[in-house]
């Protein structure tokens, strides 16, 4: 380490210099605060040991000046005239420590070692925070339409607030993206964002995942497991598809949200947890409340700030912007040269109603990049239902429209029945019936 010793007594300067040099440190000395400030202005030091009582500028004033100009410098004040007031003043001004002459050799050695470790940890912390900012930065929320601009403004506003947020919107509109943007813009951004897809887990597993369990709480619970709320300590819990949560888990959730304590399954000891909740659903929760499927008290607990993300078909002016964004992202990810859209392809993208919303558009662009040989995305590489989408006003029977729409959603979702059923907002059985009725066939190669 590089150490600066500032003391008006030559014996102290020389003794400490010799001492630290024996430990392999590089040492400079200054006989006054002014000289010390001059040296600090010329080069960087890791640690400065500064005598409090010196003629002219004293150590406390030097410390406050150094703290302003070089906040990374670790300052240790030394004095032979200890007083509680000067110690308090030193620590308040940010001194790392305050030691009294003469020093116990072991104490000084330990102090320097700890100061070095403290400095390394602080530097590492800064590095990690910077890398976290890069890693945790969510993909940009894009939209130039007035309705989307309002959403973006709202995201900025609620990010700085710590209240619960409910995000609503059809599947594929980017609810998780909005949740990530809120978390990234909040004071909790250096703590975890824990995502729980409530719709993908059975009641028992969801309960255990959310609240944790003790060893032996149920068959197979071999070890203690912290729940998502505990894992999110200091950060944000994103409860996706909150509308799918069972009545029993709704009761437990309400308790956790109200009391900010969780009790692991198999335990009687509540654990206090600090978190913010962002919930999302593609359902109309008010209707769910009216039908009795969702608790009204939980609804009001979640519905503090609401962000409604409009479906893509209601903001077609955003389609070119999003399409260009995805095109750039996928060409870069696939190490392809920059690509553009043929006018016909862009027009088809704009004309298609995108029932799967942004997710469907994203998948279509990814597929197009894979299938394109040249630098231009032609109409022919878009999914058939997109390329050949009739104008919205084109005549046709209701059954024809439904068949085309169901096929489009199935293709967009790679014929994943669960996902397609969720997009269509029907259950899986209904979807299977429609596939049979319209004689829809899964393509052999999935393309």
């Amino acid at each position: 380490m590089k150490i600066l010793i500032v003391d008006d007594e030559p014996i102290v300067r020389e003794s400490l210099k010799g001492w630290f040099e024996q430990d392999g440190h590089a040492v400079d000395v200054a006989e006054s605060a002014r000289e010390g400030l001059r040296l600090c202005g010329q080069g960087r030091y890791d640690i400065a040991l500064v005598d409090v009582k010196m003629p002219g500028m004293d150590g406390l004033e030097m410390q406050s000046r150094l703290a302003a100009t070089d906040p990374d410098l670790t300052i240790i004040l030394m004095t032979a005239y200890a007083s509680v007031e000067s110690a308090v003043q030193a620590m308040k001004a940010g001194a790392y420590d305050y030691i009294i002459k003469p020093f116990d050799p072991d104490d000084l050695s330990l102090l320097i070692r700890r100061a070095g470790e403290h400095r390394s940890l602080r530097a590492e912390n800064l590095r990690l925070k910077k890398s976290l900012e890069v890693v945790s930065a969510p993909p940009p929320l894009l939209g130039s339409s007035p309705v989307m601009k309002r959403v973006l403004d709202l995201v900025g506003t609620v990010a700085t607030n710590d209240a619960t947020v409910l995000i609503t919107g059809e599947s594929g509109t980017g609810k998780e993206l909005v949740a990530r943007a809120i978390h990234a813009g909040s004071a909790r951004r250096y703590s975890p964002l824990v995502v729980v897809n409530c719709g993908a887990l059975s009641e028992g597993i969801l309960e255990s995942e959310l609240f944790g369990h003790e060893a032996g709480a149920f068959t197979g619970a071999r070890a203690r497991h912290k729940g998502k709320f505990e894992a999110a300590e200091g950060g944000t819990v994103f409860l996706d598809e909150i509308g799918e949560v069972s009545p029993h888990v709704q009761v437990e959730l309400l308790r956790v949200l109200e009391e900010k304590v969780v009790t692991r399954l198999g335990s009687n000891t509540p654990v206090s947890v600090d978190f913010r909740v962002i919930a999302a659903t593609h359902r109309n929760l008010e209707e769910c409340v009216r039908s009795g499927a969702f608790r009204e008290d939980l609804f009001w607990r979640l519905n503090v700030l609401t962000i409604e993300i409009p479906p893509l078909r209601e903001r077609p002016e955003d389609i070119p912007l999003l399409a260009e964004h995805f095109l750039s992202r996928f060409t870069s990810a696939m190490s392809r040269r920059p690509m553009t859209f043929a006018p016909g392809a862009l027009e088809a993208l704009r004309r298609y109603p995108w029932p799967g919303n942004v997710r469907e558009l994203q998948n279509a662009i990814e597929r197009a990049v894979v299938l394109s040989d040249g630098p231009v995305v032609e109409l022919g590489v878009l999914p058939v239902h997109v390329a050949g989408a009739p104008d919205h006003a084109s005549p046709g029977s209701l059954a024809e429209a439904e068949k085309a729409h169901v096929r489009a959603v199935l293709e967009t979702n790679g014929w994943n029945i669960t996902r397609a059923a969720r997009v269509l907002d029907v259950d899986r059985v209904t979807l299977y019936n429609k596939i049979r009725r319209y004689e829809l066939k899964r393509p052999a190669n999935g393309g």
Binding site: L16, W19, Q22, D23, G24, K101, D104, P105, L110
Partner: protein, 191 residues
């Protein structure tokens, strides 16, 4: 800082009692030291007039002042190690076990805080002897231009308490051993 002595530059180590030390104890210390050095160890008989300067308002001798006097008085007499039963310190530290200049020709070691009796424990001449030998070898390491070492087991690791004196190793680590001059690079571990 003086230049490092060439290997074999010293022909003998002269052990100089400073203060009330029983001669048999000093003779035993010289004998024990000689096991770890490729140098004969003698009681210094021709070094006189090293004043035991005291630190103002402290019941301790001033290690740096005594070391300077030792180097002055022993000039031309080879390697001299002063041993004192008195407590020793320098102005900035509450105490020191020993002092030596890197590349110098003298070292100074206080037995006061190496003695279990200092801490209210029963006297144990063997423990005191072991600690004295390792502390002298540590200071001789500085005379041989070595700095403190970060290896936990190395004799050149800094020890600011008697527990750390006991905890650090009784031998030089490989890196430090490789830099030792011939006169110090001999003998088994110090305990």
């Amino acid at each position: 800082m003086g230049a490092s002595p060439e290997p074999g530059a010293f022909e003998a180590l002269h052990l100089l009692p400073l203060g009330p030390l029983p001669p048999p104890r000093v003779a035993r210390l010289a004998e024990r030291l000689s096991r770890h050095l490729r140098l004969p160890c003698h009681l210094a008989t021709d070094v006189r007039g090293v004043p035991l300067a005291r630190l103002p308002e402290r019941d301790q001798i001033d290690a740096d002042a005594v070391l300077a006097a030792l180097e002055r008085e022993a000039a031309g007499k080879g390697l001299v190690v002063g041993v004192t039963p008195l407590d020793m310190a320098i102005p900035i530290f509450t105490f020191v076990f020993g002092r030596a200049r890197q590349g110098g020709k003298a070292a100074l070691v206080s037995l006061a805080r190496l003695d279990p009796g200092f801490y209210g424990l029963p006297p144990d001449p063997e423990i005191l002897m072991q600690r004295a030998v390792t502390e002298i070898l540590h200071e001789l390491g500085h005379v041989a231009s070595l700095r403190h070492c970060s290896e936990a087991a190395c004799l050149m690791r800094f020890a600011g308490s008697v527990e750390r004196v006991d905890a650090r190793g009784a031998a030089f680590c490989a890196a430090c051993a490789a830099r030792l001059p011939a006169w110090l690079a001999a003998g088994p571990p110090a305990v």
